[in-house]
């Protein structure tokens, strides 16, 4: 539910990082925050358990400059990935305009990725939104672990598991070192803006 403020000439849109627990959603936001914190007046908001798992959401407002005379403010959120937190996860999705789905490349997380994407589809449906219509970018995260000998899913296998019907743009990433984190976000913002323009016209 993006909001266009004609007085301030400002657009506010909501982008949500979704995906299985421990996949790296919070790490994505932390990386972005650390990049820009010197220009920010605000701190990143996190609601976590003491074990560092997201309990409700993380929140980072991001001013990304102007497009066609409108200043664009994206509000980045993460959901809690743990299965048991579905009620709060669904609340965070309210009014979402674009999604980054952070999948975990570790071979042992194969099923978790698939069920999280299915859960996203169900939760979007609760708001009459369609997974196949909403702007979405896929992230195959933790690629760096391959070098450390951790068994990973190949990109091809992850594409088959998650993206064969969706056909969304996808990136192999390492949120920990920041590889492709910004590229993912840029793509998500771009797709969200294009879709907003379409609904405005």
């Amino acid at each position: 539910m993006a909001f266009v403020n004609l007085k301030k000439k400002e657009v506010q849109a909501k982008i949500v990082y979704y995906g299985p627990g421990r996949g790296g959603k919070t790490t994505n936001l932390e990386f972005i925050y650390n990049r820009i914190r010197s220009q920010m007046q605000n701190e990143m908001v996190t609601i976590k358990t003491h074990g560092d798992r997201t309990l409700f959401f993380d929140f980072l407002p991001l001013n990304i400059g102007t497009i066609k005379g409108y200043s664009i403010r994206t509000q980045l959120y993460t959901v809690p990935g743990q299965v048991k937190y579905n009620a709060t996860r669904r609340l965070v999705l309210r009014g979402v305009d674009g999604i980054v789905f952070v999948a975990d490349s570790m071979a042992v997380r194969k099923e978790k990725n698939i069920s999280s994407l299915k859960n996203l589809e169900e939760n979007l449906a609760a708001y009459q939104k369609d997974l196949y219509k909403i702007p979405i970018v896929l992230q195959y995260n933790k690629r760096d672990l391959g070098k450390k000998g951790v068994p990973l899913l190949s990109i091809e296998e992850m594409e088959r598991d998650l993206n064969s019907k969706l056909k969304a743009p996808s990136f192999g990433t390492s949120a920990m070192i920041g590889h492709n984190v910004v590229a993912t976000l840029k793509k998500a913002i771009q797709m969200t803006m294009i879709s907003l323009q379409r609904t405005l016209m």
């Binding site: 539910m1 266009v4 309210r94 405005l200």
Partner: protein, 133 residues
């Protein structure tokens, strides 16, 4: 889904908030939507809260309260209010898509604030677009 407010609509809402609430001593009022976007904000000039974070948290908090109400068999809780040492915060739903967040101090009683918020809400309702989400 996207909604737009014209400059005139925003200014009318600003006027209502500033006349009905800020002029009475409310420190700051933020009108948000349930996605956590800020629609209008007004303050008395001496508060510098991080309103974007406040909006995100207020929307989440309101959603959580509502979900709790449903679990115990209520449609919603009618009074949403947090009391602090020097600052208090009050939430009021507008239509089904918006939330008015008022931050006020000791000078104002909760009863008086609720009365004034209700008056402001009645006026603002007519100025806002309804949505389906």
């Amino acid at each position: 889904m996207t909604y737009i407010l014209e400059q005139k609509q925003i200014e009318e809402i600003e006027q209502v908030l500033s006349k009905s609430l800020i002029d009475l001593g409310v420190h700051s009022v933020i009108l948000i939507d349930m996605a956590g976007n800020i629609v209008v904000d007004q303050d008395s000039g001496n508060s510098d809260h991080d309103i974007y974070s406040l909006a995100a948290l207020a929307a989440g908090n309101y959603g959580a309260m509502n979900a709790m109400a449903n679990i115990v068999g209520e449609d919603e809780f009618s009074l949403l209010f947090h009391k602090g040492e020097t600052a208090n915060i009050h939430f009021s739903k507008i239509l089904s898509d918006y939330l008015l967040v008022s931050i006020f101090g000791k000078e104002i009683s909760l009863g008086f604030l609720r009365l004034k918020v209700a008056e402001a809400v009645a006026k603002i309702e007519k100025l806002l677009p309804t949505q389906s989400a």
